[in-house]
């Protein structure tokens, strides 16, 4: 037990890296995902094709492969990234593919009559999107996006494959050093569960807040 007590601060530090990976790639992935969703519904055919291909590739290949390509493969092309930036990049690209579909679902879920009503008062496309469609799309997309955030938080464990010292990797080394695999992995699992519980509660509160208006 002593060893685990000693290991606890290490696990906490790994937990911090996990949260950093999850939050950073969720934020960046949301921005990229929103752009892809806009491209996907755009009037411009090339943009639509790019968005469709993007989603197809990044949703259709394992995250682990994407992480490996970025960390081990890119140096062959002269692009060398540190482990943590590699992991954040891969997680961002990966989650953007899923998030763009969630956002698109939200936008398409807004009744066509809303576009028409805005159009009938002479509102231009961009402002209609911002003032009328976006606020309703967010509300429709929130449950799916929240679920994606939670999934992403767990997916960060794959960063251990490229030497990022995040929670899963710390748990593994603590286990290796102490042979107390059960305790260290259960403790790491509990930490994942804890952050995801916080996220679900936050999502619930957000849904309630968004739902309040109407």
């Amino acid at each position: 037990m002593d060893l685990l007590t000693n290991a606890f601060p290490m696990l906490l530090r790994g937990f911090g890296v996990t949260i950093l990976l999850g939050v950073a790639s969720f934020v960046l992935g949301s921005v990229l995902g929103a752009l892809i969703a806009l491209a996907r519904i755009s009037r411009i055919r090339v943009l639509r094709a790019v968005a469709i291909s993007y989603v197809s590739v990044f949703r259709g290949t394992p995250l682990l492969i994407q992480i490996m390509v970025i960390y081990f493969g890119l140096p062959q092309l002269g692009v060398q990234l540190e482990p943590i930036p590699s992991a954040i990049l891969a997680l961002t690209l990966f989650s953007a593919a899923y998030l763009s579909e969630n956002f698109r679902g939200g936008i398409l879920g807004v009744d066509k009559g809303q576009w028409e009503a805005a159009s009938s008062i002479g509102m231009p496309y961009g402002r209609t999107f911002r003032r009328i469609v976006f606020p309703q799309a967010i509300r429709i997309a929130t449950p799916a996006v929240g679920g994606r955030f939670i999934a992403l938080m767990k997916d960060t464990s794959l960063a251990s494959a490229v030497t990022v010292v995040e929670l899963t990797r710390v748990a593994e080394s603590v286990g290796n050093a102490s042979f107390r695999y059960m305790e260290s992995f259960l403790l790491a699992g509990a930490m994942y569960w804890l952050i995801n519980t916080v996220l679900s509660v936050g999502q619930g509160m957000l849904e309630k807040r968004l739902g309040r208006a109407y």
């Binding site: 028409e116 009503a117 009938s120 008062i121 002479g122 509102m123 309703q136």
Partner: protein, 269 residues
């Protein structure tokens, strides 16, 4: 007489295999109330939607106030701008209301004045309150649409259309989505507008209302205008057989909804 407010010439519109409008000419004079009637699928909704370019015709010409469009040309940026300008001159009231659910009644009404006409907040709010009072909903200004009845929603939608101070208001079956007992409150508002000289085009199946409010009935069938006449003439001695058989059908099913309804508690037992 001055130029017509809306002038439609040779308009055609096709949805896939179906040609919904097959060459329609129609003009709406300033201050005139035109009621479009006809069996379902006759193209009346599509026609009214062409009058603010919500639907862009495949061919023909549409002039809305001072904005003229030759239809069928590719929609470039300047054409979209012109369409926006034309839409600012027209108001539209939809069958399904299409209120913005995330805004209060007042928010819905002042959205156009604030965002499109760029009125200062205080001025827009004063205008919004005035219009809500005009449709009898001054006390609902802070309610969200989900807390309003269908008739109240439609009256908010009318106030929203009026807030753009349009030259003409288009109504696409404004009472079709409402329970029968709620028709009167909406029709009364429209009738008041007619009394004030508002130019309006109304698609409706309400024959009693049409007869009272219209200056001219336009009867459509199969994507063309079959008959145009003053309401007295149209409802008593329509010239065309198609109009006669349509009237027989609707008169048969008609309930005089715009006539005063018995108040709650006074219903016959």
């Amino acid at each position: 007489m001055s130029e017509p407010t809306i002038e439609i010439t040779g308009v055609r519109k096709r949805f896939g295999e179906v040609e919904v409008l097959r060459g329609v000419d129609l003009s709406v004079e300033r201050g005139e109330v035109v009621v479009l009637m006809g069996p379902s699928g006759s193209g009346k909704t599509t026609l009214v939607r062409c009058m603010n370019l919500l639907e862009e015709p495949d061919a023909g010409r549409v002039r809305i106030c001072d904005c003229a469009f030759d239809c069928g040309a590719p929609r470039d940026r300047s054409a979209r701008r012109l369409a926006q300008r034309a839409r600012r001159r027209t108001g539209m009231v939809f069958q399904q209301f299409n209120l913005f659910p995330h805004m209060t009644a007042l928010g819905n009404v002042i959205e156009g004045p604030r965002q499109v006409r760029r009125l200062p907040a205080a001025e827009a709010v004063a205008l919004g309150e005035r219009l809500l009072a005009r449709v009898g909903l001054a006390d609902k200004r802070d309610e969200y649409p989900s807390r309003l009845s269908g008739g109240q929603k439609q009256r908010v939608a009318i106030a929203r259309a009026l807030a753009m101070e349009p030259e003409v208001v288009l109504f696409d079956e404004p009472t079709s989505a409402l329970d029968p007992e709620l028709h009167a409150e909406v029709l009364d508002v429209i009738q008041e507008l007619a009394g004030e000289g508002m130019t309006m085009v109304i698609v409706t199946h309400e024959t009693h209302f049409a007869r009272e409010v219209a200056d001219r009935i336009v009867f459509m069938d199969g994507g063309v205008i079959v008959e145009e006449a003053a309401p007295d003439v149209f409802f008593t001695r329509p010239a065309q057989e198609r109009a006669r058989s349509f009237l027989r059908l609707v008169e048969h099913a008609a309930v005089p909804v715009s006539a005063p309804l018995p108040r709650r508690g006074e219903e016959a037992v």
